[in-house]
Symmetry: C2
């Protein structure tokens, strides 16, 4: 697999034109979304190379680590706007933490009871919860705007989540 | 900004053809890399929609949250290969955690001394460290292959990091 990826990268690098881009995102934007393979945030938001930070994890959740990244993004690299995007048919939505911990216990013998896998049951609520978590994070600048969207994997379309 | 992003998304959705994709990544691959705005992993690896999970945070570090995502990716959605990609000119490389904690104290009044921002000083070492952290994670299947790469933002080129 690595060889295939390196070959594909050769072709990319042959026509690469991003060598002069600056580290700080040009549109001063940070996107937090899910790792899901059906999501390509740069494409569905039409982002050009160098424009935005993209943070991704299982569910697109505002985990402690996502907050670490967002604090670095906003304080150190001067982004001013954060967009949280969860999506339909997310694996973390149908997710039962206790059931999964049981599977891990059986498959690995290790106790995963201490891990919160950050599953959720309502899409709009999970977006609102994470927008709230970022907005109220002690280390975030109050001037940062945080909004929430839902991406529909069936249509490729985004919709805004109201503050509720 | 949100209006601009939603407009751009309208154009994307008008020609979207991913509606039938399955949740499980087709190439059974998970990529862990940095949030940096100059990185577009789907492009530099030539990934097609639906092929791979993409996990991103400040530095592309194997944080606890990245491990949470990788456990979900490998156990629940059957990926079999993990690629860790750090990059040249990373903001987390020149990063001084204590200095940044001091800035946060001054700007917010809150004590960030408890937060490890996961900065690093040597690129190859940080890749090796994270490959090791994933490989030895209790909840990962031993059959998962984990490799490490470095992406050069000046050239768009990847190189392998040897196990050391």
């Amino acid at each position: 697999m690595i060889d295939e990826l390196l070959e594909a990268n050769e072709r990319f690098a042959d026509s690469y034109e991003g060598g002069e881009l600056e580290m700080a995102p040009r549109r001063r934007l940070a996107v937090l979304t899910c790792m899901d393979a059906r999501l390509a945030p740069e494409r569905f938001l039409d982002l050009v190379l160098g424009e935005a930070h993209v943070i991704r994890n299982a569910g697109g959740r505002a985990s402690d680590d996502a907050l670490r990244s967002l604090v670095v993004s906003t304080r150190l690299l001067r982004t001013r706007e954060v967009v949280v995007i969860h999506h339909t048919d997310c694996g973390m939505m149908s997710f039962d933490s206790e059931e999964f911990q049981q599977v891990l216990r059986e498959e690995t013998g290790a106790d995963a009871a201490g891990i919160d896998f950050l599953g959720f049951s309502d899409l709009d609520d999970s977006v609102r919860e994470d927008v709230e978590r970022i907005t109220t994070c002690t280390y975030m600048d109050e001037g940062i705007s945080v909004s929430g969207l839902v991406y529909d994997v069936a249509t490729g379309r985004l919709r805004e989540v109201d503050a509720g």
